[in-house]
Amino acid sequence: MNTSDIHIRGVGAVSAAGWNAADLLKAVRAGTPLPATGCARPGDERTWPCETRLVPAVPPEKISRHPRLRRSSAITRYSVAAALEALADAGHDPAAPPQGLGILFIMMNGCVNYTGRFYHEVLQNPAQASPLIFPETVFNAPASHLASFLGIDGAVSTLVGAPNTIMEALDTAAFWIRSGIVEECLLIAAEECDWLSAEALTYYHPHLIASEGAGALLLSASGGGPRVCDVIGPLAYLSWQERCALLPELAAQTQAKLHEPATLIDDRTGISKLDRAETAAWSGSPWQTVLSPKLVLGESMGASAALQLVLGTLAARETQQPVVISMPGANTAAYACVLTP
């Protein structure tokens, strides 16, 4: 995988820390877990604790108006806000997006709120299930709305998978740019919370807290900005045991690329059982700084790797040092990458 000729010109983020990338960096640097709130269950009381860290209410200046956004769910609104911030960060006028823009969208759960609502209606009475809701349940609805909002009629694609699928998307974005299919590419990963996904996380571990948001990166072959110089992986695995055994190799391959002090942005959750292998793998290096976004935000699922990359870009810009992003994944493959200023 070679993406070293591609620059991250701009970044944007929506997270439990706020509606911009700066708030994300500030919160993660502070390292204090954001307040969690109980996740309501419709209809009845849950017999076990389940909490979420949600994106705060949208500030007035972040409300985007477009016919497609009237009905769209939170995941689309987060994506649009993060994309507009990334475009502005790259020096583009968000009101007049550049031509030749492509979109690669990554998610794991997708439009869960409308999906749950629609299926509830189907179970109640399928004859009265809303035809307005069903199209919003489709995985690529957020990418479609964003494309419509920005007027992008070229290459737009949605990938579903583990959060680190964003590295495969990055590889393809680089190909699209090199080959002229697009001039620049928005790489976006987003997720929204609902009670079902929040509960699902607690089955993995009772202390996992669901979060949500979007991370956006504007990629270009020109214009400057940090580059993803080295991508390590995918190191594919078929079990948790294989994953744990592969992580030292992931770390060793990554460390071989480093020749100066670096920042590590890891994937740790704060739950030792889940973090043990990753913690051990990276412990051999004298990191300048270690940032652990999930300890602050919670589990942002499909958006989490994008938020790491946004943080990495900001950190690389600021420190002018390399940044290592650790993306060990949970059920398919491990990746890491090195960002250089």
Binding site: G100, E136, G154, V156, F175, E199, T332
Partner: protein, 430 residues
């Protein structure tokens, strides 16, 4: 992995009848060989069964018994007879229920593709790129229903939550072959399968991979079936009539298909054909309805043919998206006419959805394999159930199976969200 840096060829095409920003695809740097293909559809399991059904102009719609359709308008679909035995030999018997029906179909298709290329394993495969729209939706439905029924913790919910994830389903396939490699899951609604094949071809064309399994799948699911029913998109009669003047909707189906794509310089078995061209674009008209002029479709057909180095007149068969809905078919007919120009009246077009239904995320892949079968067999599958051809149709609508000479076939896939994709396949002669 590729390290080359090509020059940008993106241009604004002012001469186009619809002056829109047009992305010119890169020239083909190498042939993308198809060395194996597998297909599972309502018409049958495997290449031979599907070929025989298409040759017999057989349709495969029957009442849906996988879930309750009593409150719905439509009650039939193209249903696959998935073998009852355990297909996944490495999945313990007590976990077989966690392998989704669609994943089982996909495994059968992959096994057929590998066998066709003389392989028993996935060793040497660099990546798997799979399109799906619904993934393992029935497991998600079961998770939802259990959660609603019981406010307490239900132990089996962890397994449902885990296996609902499409990447976890793909891991089951990887484990079946003991294969370790990247799995990329494309989800662009009904264009997913075509996009996955195009994505894989791009991976090879760019040098990022030598050998990729690519395709798509989707199984029938209550939520999706109810969704199309709520949109009144399903033909009340259960009979889809693409390009008929009185068509009244589509029929859903299920299935899977894959191709084993190989770089020509890495090919390890005889090629069945080539992926010669691919293009994707986005229709911004509406979330679910196509632009009446089919502007995005015109671009994808034009660009895919440009990449393949062929003119519309050289396309010997078009497998249309052809859902049978009023909006889709008229827009696609307009797009084909605009793309083909004077050649339109000689271009044979059909919709095989008329025989098996709309396979959603699997449609593009299944229809691409049908194009490959047509190129290999030198025949054209039919658009069934047409009583009176829509006046928008200016092409040669194939209404009965027939033999023909063709060197190139084109397949269109258009999805919710406006994703349009076109693939051009090329015949290989010995």
């Amino acid at each position: 992995m590729n390290t080359c840096v090509g020059s940008s060829t993106t241009v604004r095409d002012e001469s186009h009848p619809f002056p829109i920003f047009s992305s010119v695809p890169p020239p083909p740097r190498q042939r993308i060989a198809i060395t194996g293909a597998g297909i599972v559809s309502p018409l049958g399991l495997g290449w031979q069964a599907n070929e025989q059904s298409l040759a017999a102009d057989r349709a495969a719609f029957r009442p849906v018994e996988l879930f309750d359709t009593s409150g719905l308008i439509a009650k039939t679909a193209g249903v696959v007879d998935v073998p009852a035995e355990n297909l996944f030999h490495r999945v313990p018997a007590h976990k077989q229920a966690l392998v989704d029906r669609g994943t089982r179909m996909l495994l059968l298709a992959i096994r057929e593709a590998l066998a066709q290329s003389g392989r028993e394993t996935m060793e040497g495969i660099d990546a798997m790129v799979i399109g799906t729209s619904a993934g393992a939706m029935p497991l998600g439905e079961a998770y939802f229903e259990n959660a609603r029924q019981d406010p307490g913790r239900v132990p089996s919910q962890l397994s449902r939550a885990e296996h609902y994830q499409p990447q976890r389903q793909m891991s089951s396939i990887a484990a079946e072959f003991g294969w370790h490699g990247p799995v990329i899951i494309v989800s662009n609604a009904c264009a997913s399968g075509a996009n996955a094949i195009g994505w894989a071809a791009d991976m090879i064309r760019s040098g990022r991979a030598k050998r990729v399994i690519a395709g798509g799948y989707d199984a029938l699911a209550k939520l999706v079936f109810s969704g199309f029913d709520s949109l009144r998109a399903l033909a009340p009669s259960g009979i889809p009539r693409p390009f008929d003047a009185q068509r009244d909707g589509l029929a859903l189906g299920e299935g899977a298909a894959v191709m084993l794509l190989e770089a020509e310089d890495a090919r390890q078995s005889d090629a069945l054909g080539d992926v010669a061209g691919y293009s994707t674009a986005t229709d911004l008209h509406h979330l679910t309805q196509p632009d009446p002029e089919g502007k995005a479709a015109i671009r994808t057909m034009t660009n895919a043919c440009a990449q393949a180095g062929v003119s519309p007149a050289q396309i010997g068969y078009v497998n249309s998206h052809g859902t049978g809905t009023p909006f889709n078919d008229v827009a696609e007919a307009a797009a084909i006419a605009a793309w083909a120009g004077d050649a339109v009246k000689n271009i044979p077009v059909s919709s095989t959805k008329s025989a098996m239904g709309h396979l959603l995320g699997g449609a593009g892949a299944v229809e691409a394999v049908i194009c490959l079968m047509a190129l290999r067999g030198q025949w054209l599958p039919a658009s069934l159930n047409v009583r009176e051809v829509d006046p928008a149709v200016r092409f040669d609508l194939v209404q009965k199976f027939r033999h023909a000479r063709l060197e190139h076939a084109l397949t269109n896939s258009f999805g919710f969200g406006g994703t349009n994709a076109t693939l051009v396949l090329q015949r290989r002669t010995a």
